[in-house]
Point group: C2
Chain length 138, copies 2
Protein backbone atom coordinates (compact mmCIF):
# COMPACT_ATOMS: atom_id res chain seq x y z
CA UNK A 1 0.00 0.00 0.00
CA UNK A 2 1.12 3.53 -0.70
CA UNK A 3 1.26 6.27 1.92
CA UNK A 4 -2.14 7.50 0.83
CA UNK A 5 -3.56 4.01 1.30
CA UNK A 6 -1.97 3.77 4.75
CA UNK A 7 -3.62 6.97 5.95
CA UNK A 8 -6.84 5.86 4.31
CA UNK A 9 -6.72 2.46 6.00
CA UNK A 10 -6.36 4.20 9.34
CA UNK A 11 -9.35 6.39 8.55
CA UNK A 12 -11.51 3.41 7.69
CA UNK A 13 -10.45 1.76 10.96
CA UNK A 14 -11.52 4.89 12.84
CA UNK A 15 -14.79 5.03 10.94
CA UNK A 16 -15.62 1.44 11.80
CA UNK A 17 -14.65 1.94 15.44
CA UNK A 18 -16.87 5.00 15.78
CA UNK A 19 -19.70 3.34 13.88
CA UNK A 20 -19.69 0.22 16.06
CA UNK A 21 -19.59 2.28 19.25
CA UNK A 22 -22.48 4.44 18.08
CA UNK A 23 -24.58 1.41 17.20
CA UNK A 24 -23.90 -0.13 20.61
CA UNK A 25 -25.10 3.04 22.29
CA UNK A 26 -28.21 3.25 20.11
CA UNK A 27 -29.17 -0.32 21.01
CA UNK A 28 -28.52 0.32 24.69
CA UNK A 29 -30.98 3.20 24.66
CA UNK A 30 -33.75 0.60 24.52
CA UNK A 31 -31.86 -1.96 26.60
CA UNK A 32 -30.78 -4.18 23.73
CA UNK A 33 -27.35 -5.49 22.80
CA UNK A 34 -26.01 -4.70 19.35
CA UNK A 35 -26.48 -8.34 18.34
CA UNK A 36 -30.14 -8.27 19.37
CA UNK A 37 -30.80 -5.01 17.56
CA UNK A 38 -29.03 -6.38 14.52
CA UNK A 39 -31.27 -9.42 14.49
CA UNK A 40 -34.38 -7.21 14.68
CA UNK A 41 -33.00 -5.32 11.70
CA UNK A 42 -33.01 -8.53 9.66
CA UNK A 43 -36.69 -9.24 10.25
CA UNK A 44 -39.13 -8.41 7.49
CA UNK A 45 -42.87 -7.72 7.62
CA UNK A 46 -43.25 -11.43 6.88
CA UNK A 47 -41.80 -13.96 9.25
CA UNK A 48 -38.37 -15.41 8.51
CA UNK A 49 -36.95 -18.90 9.15
CA UNK A 50 -34.30 -19.13 11.88
CA UNK A 51 -31.88 -20.73 9.46
CA UNK A 52 -32.04 -17.82 7.04
CA UNK A 53 -31.20 -15.46 9.87
CA UNK A 54 -28.18 -17.54 10.89
CA UNK A 55 -26.91 -17.43 7.31
CA UNK A 56 -27.35 -13.68 6.98
CA UNK A 57 -25.82 -12.94 10.36
CA UNK A 58 -23.03 -15.42 9.62
CA UNK A 59 -23.33 -17.10 12.97
CA UNK A 60 -24.26 -20.51 14.29
CA UNK A 61 -27.89 -21.58 14.47
CA UNK A 62 -27.59 -22.13 18.21
CA UNK A 63 -26.68 -18.48 18.56
CA UNK A 64 -29.82 -17.40 16.75
CA UNK A 65 -31.81 -19.66 19.07
CA UNK A 66 -30.49 -17.77 22.07
CA UNK A 67 -30.87 -14.30 20.60
CA UNK A 68 -34.44 -15.04 19.55
CA UNK A 69 -35.21 -16.52 22.96
CA UNK A 70 -34.11 -13.33 24.71
CA UNK A 71 -36.06 -11.14 22.32
CA UNK A 72 -39.07 -13.40 22.70
CA UNK A 73 -38.91 -13.12 26.49
CA UNK A 74 -39.23 -9.36 26.07
CA UNK A 75 -42.13 -9.77 23.65
CA UNK A 76 -40.30 -8.24 20.71
CA UNK A 77 -40.48 -11.29 18.45
CA UNK A 78 -42.51 -14.49 18.28
CA UNK A 79 -41.80 -17.95 16.91
CA UNK A 80 -44.38 -19.43 14.56
CA UNK A 81 -44.29 -22.91 13.07
CA UNK A 82 -43.95 -23.15 9.32
CA UNK A 83 -47.13 -24.79 7.99
CA UNK A 84 -45.35 -26.53 5.08
CA UNK A 85 -42.32 -27.90 6.94
CA UNK A 86 -42.82 -28.35 10.62
CA UNK A 87 -39.10 -28.56 11.32
CA UNK A 88 -38.83 -24.88 10.43
CA UNK A 89 -39.63 -22.14 12.91
CA UNK A 90 -40.23 -18.69 11.57
CA UNK A 91 -39.47 -15.51 13.51
CA UNK A 92 -42.01 -12.72 13.49
CA UNK A 93 -41.48 -9.20 14.77
CA UNK A 94 -44.27 -8.04 17.09
CA UNK A 95 -45.71 -4.51 17.14
CA UNK A 96 -43.68 -3.89 20.30
CA UNK A 97 -40.62 -5.17 18.46
CA UNK A 98 -41.29 -2.81 15.57
CA UNK A 99 -41.56 0.09 18.04
CA UNK A 100 -38.24 -0.83 19.62
CA UNK A 101 -36.60 -1.20 16.24
CA UNK A 102 -37.84 2.23 15.23
CA UNK A 103 -36.42 3.63 18.47
CA UNK A 104 -33.01 2.11 17.78
CA UNK A 105 -33.01 3.53 14.27
CA UNK A 106 -33.92 6.93 15.65
CA UNK A 107 -31.19 6.80 18.28
CA UNK A 108 -28.59 5.73 15.73
CA UNK A 109 -27.71 9.19 14.57
CA UNK A 110 -24.27 8.30 13.23
CA UNK A 111 -25.12 7.82 9.54
CA UNK A 112 -27.31 10.88 9.10
CA UNK A 113 -25.02 13.07 11.21
CA UNK A 114 -21.84 12.09 9.45
CA UNK A 115 -23.22 11.74 5.95
CA UNK A 116 -25.02 15.02 6.53
CA UNK A 117 -21.63 16.73 6.60
CA UNK A 118 -21.29 15.98 2.90
CA UNK A 119 -23.03 17.79 0.06
CA UNK A 120 -25.34 15.87 -2.25
CA UNK A 121 -22.64 15.67 -4.86
CA UNK A 122 -20.07 14.45 -2.37
CA UNK A 123 -22.51 11.80 -1.19
CA UNK A 124 -22.91 10.60 -4.76
CA UNK A 125 -19.13 10.54 -5.13
CA UNK A 126 -18.76 8.50 -1.96
CA UNK A 127 -21.49 6.15 -3.10
CA UNK A 128 -19.63 5.50 -6.33
CA UNK A 129 -16.34 4.87 -4.54
CA UNK A 130 -17.88 2.47 -2.03
CA UNK A 131 -19.71 0.61 -4.75
CA UNK A 132 -16.43 0.12 -6.53
CA UNK A 133 -14.85 -1.15 -3.31
CA UNK A 134 -17.68 -3.43 -2.21
CA UNK A 135 -18.98 -4.56 -5.56
CA UNK A 136 -22.41 -3.80 -7.07
CA UNK A 137 -23.94 -6.66 -5.08
CA UNK A 138 -23.80 -4.73 -1.84
Amino acid sequence: MTEVADALARQVWDLVFAYDAAYDRAAQVVGLSAAQACLLEHLSPDSRPMGELALELRCDASNVTQLVSRLETRGLVARVADPDDRRIKRVLITPAGADVRRAVRGAFGFPSERLGLLTDQEQRQLYGLLRKMLGPAS
Copy 2:
Protein backbone atom coordinates in the same frame (compact mmCIF):
# COMPACT_ATOMS: atom_id res chain seq x y z
CA MET B 1 -31.90 11.84 4.59
CA THR B 2 -32.37 11.81 0.84
CA GLU B 3 -32.59 8.65 -1.25
CA VAL B 4 -28.89 8.93 -2.05
CA ALA B 5 -28.10 9.09 1.65
CA ASP B 6 -30.31 6.07 2.32
CA ALA B 7 -28.46 3.90 -0.19
CA LEU B 8 -25.19 5.29 1.11
CA ALA B 9 -26.11 4.51 4.71
CA ARG B 10 -26.81 0.93 3.69
CA GLN B 11 -23.45 0.73 1.97
CA VAL B 12 -21.63 1.99 5.04
CA TRP B 13 -23.48 -0.61 7.13
CA ASP B 14 -22.33 -3.32 4.73
CA LEU B 15 -18.79 -1.99 4.78
CA VAL B 16 -18.64 -2.08 8.57
CA PHE B 17 -20.18 -5.55 8.70
CA ALA B 18 -17.64 -6.93 6.22
CA TYR B 19 -14.79 -5.12 7.91
CA ASP B 20 -15.64 -6.46 11.38
CA ALA B 21 -16.03 -10.00 10.08
CA ALA B 22 -12.70 -9.81 8.24
CA TYR B 23 -10.93 -8.56 11.36
CA ASP B 24 -12.43 -11.36 13.44
CA ARG B 25 -11.13 -13.91 10.96
CA ALA B 26 -7.68 -12.33 10.84
CA ALA B 27 -7.40 -12.48 14.61
CA GLN B 28 -8.63 -16.07 14.68
CA VAL B 29 -5.84 -17.09 12.33
CA VAL B 30 -3.46 -16.76 15.29
CA GLY B 31 -6.03 -17.86 17.86
CA LEU B 32 -6.86 -14.42 19.19
CA SER B 33 -10.20 -12.70 19.65
CA ALA B 34 -10.76 -9.36 17.94
CA ALA B 35 -10.58 -7.60 21.31
CA GLN B 36 -7.21 -9.15 22.09
CA ALA B 37 -5.80 -8.30 18.67
CA CYS B 38 -7.14 -4.78 19.02
CA LEU B 39 -5.34 -4.36 22.33
CA LEU B 40 -2.07 -5.53 20.78
CA GLU B 41 -2.61 -2.93 18.09
CA HIS B 42 -2.64 -0.21 20.74
CA LEU B 43 0.75 -1.14 22.19
CA SER B 44 3.74 0.95 21.20
CA PRO B 45 7.46 0.11 21.19
CA ASP B 46 7.47 1.63 24.68
CA SER B 47 5.30 0.18 27.37
CA ARG B 48 1.91 1.75 28.04
CA PRO B 49 -0.06 2.16 31.29
CA MET B 50 -3.16 -0.01 31.62
CA GLY B 51 -5.29 3.06 32.26
CA GLU B 52 -4.32 4.66 28.97
CA LEU B 53 -5.34 1.51 27.15
CA ALA B 54 -8.73 1.49 28.87
CA LEU B 55 -9.32 5.09 27.79
CA GLU B 56 -8.34 4.45 24.19
CA LEU B 57 -10.35 1.26 23.93
CA ARG B 58 -13.25 2.97 25.70
CA CYS B 59 -13.79 0.11 28.07
CA ASP B 60 -13.59 -0.50 31.78
CA ALA B 61 -10.21 -0.97 33.47
CA SER B 62 -11.26 -4.40 34.71
CA ASN B 63 -11.75 -5.45 31.12
CA VAL B 64 -8.20 -4.44 30.24
CA THR B 65 -6.98 -6.43 33.23
CA GLN B 66 -8.55 -9.56 31.85
CA LEU B 67 -7.49 -9.02 28.24
CA VAL B 68 -3.91 -8.38 29.34
CA SER B 69 -3.98 -11.42 31.61
CA ARG B 70 -4.98 -13.69 28.74
CA LEU B 71 -2.34 -12.20 26.45
CA GLU B 72 0.24 -12.50 29.24
CA THR B 73 -0.60 -16.17 29.72
CA ARG B 74 0.28 -16.69 26.09
CA GLY B 75 3.49 -14.72 26.46
CA LEU B 76 2.46 -11.99 24.05
CA VAL B 77 2.65 -9.11 26.53
CA ALA B 78 4.25 -8.50 29.92
CA ARG B 79 3.36 -6.25 32.84
CA VAL B 80 6.14 -4.03 34.18
CA ALA B 81 5.87 -1.75 37.20
CA ASP B 82 6.22 1.96 36.58
CA PRO B 83 9.35 3.13 38.42
CA ASP B 84 7.91 6.58 39.18
CA ASP B 85 4.46 5.59 40.40
CA ARG B 86 4.24 2.07 41.67
CA ARG B 87 0.47 1.99 41.43
CA ILE B 88 0.80 2.05 37.65
CA LYS B 89 1.45 -1.09 35.65
CA ARG B 90 2.71 -0.71 32.14
CA VAL B 91 2.04 -3.21 29.37
CA LEU B 92 4.87 -4.24 27.11
CA ILE B 93 4.59 -6.22 23.91
CA THR B 94 7.02 -9.13 23.76
CA PRO B 95 8.88 -10.25 20.62
CA ALA B 96 6.41 -13.12 20.36
CA GLY B 97 3.58 -10.60 20.67
CA ALA B 98 5.08 -8.49 17.91
CA ASP B 99 5.27 -11.59 15.70
CA VAL B 100 1.62 -12.39 16.34
CA ARG B 101 0.58 -8.81 15.71
CA ARG B 102 2.43 -8.86 12.42
CA ALA B 103 0.65 -12.08 11.51
CA VAL B 104 -2.75 -10.53 12.25
CA ARG B 105 -1.92 -7.51 10.13
CA GLY B 106 -0.83 -9.79 7.32
CA ALA B 107 -3.99 -11.88 7.55
CA PHE B 108 -6.19 -8.79 7.59
CA GLY B 109 -6.36 -8.37 3.87
CA PHE B 110 -9.55 -6.35 3.83
CA PRO B 111 -8.11 -2.82 3.65
CA SER B 112 -5.47 -3.47 1.02
CA GLU B 113 -7.78 -5.69 -1.03
CA ARG B 114 -10.70 -3.29 -1.04
CA LEU B 115 -8.76 -0.05 -1.21
CA GLY B 116 -6.64 -1.64 -3.91
CA LEU B 117 -9.70 -1.65 -6.14
CA LEU B 118 -9.46 2.14 -6.29
CA THR B 119 -6.98 4.19 -8.31
CA ASP B 120 -4.60 6.53 -6.51
CA GLN B 121 -6.77 9.47 -7.37
CA GLU B 122 -9.89 7.74 -6.13
CA GLN B 123 -8.11 6.89 -2.90
CA ARG B 124 -7.25 10.55 -2.44
CA GLN B 125 -10.87 11.46 -3.15
CA LEU B 126 -12.09 8.96 -0.59
CA TYR B 127 -9.58 10.23 1.93
CA GLY B 128 -10.92 13.75 1.53
CA LEU B 129 -14.51 12.65 1.91
CA LEU B 130 -13.83 10.61 5.04
CA ARG B 131 -11.80 13.41 6.56
CA LYS B 132 -14.76 15.70 6.06
CA MET B 133 -17.06 13.15 7.69
CA LEU B 134 -14.83 12.24 10.62
CA GLY B 135 -13.11 15.55 11.22
CA PRO B 136 -9.41 16.31 10.78
CA ALA B 137 -8.65 14.87 14.23
CA SER B 138 -9.14 11.33 13.09
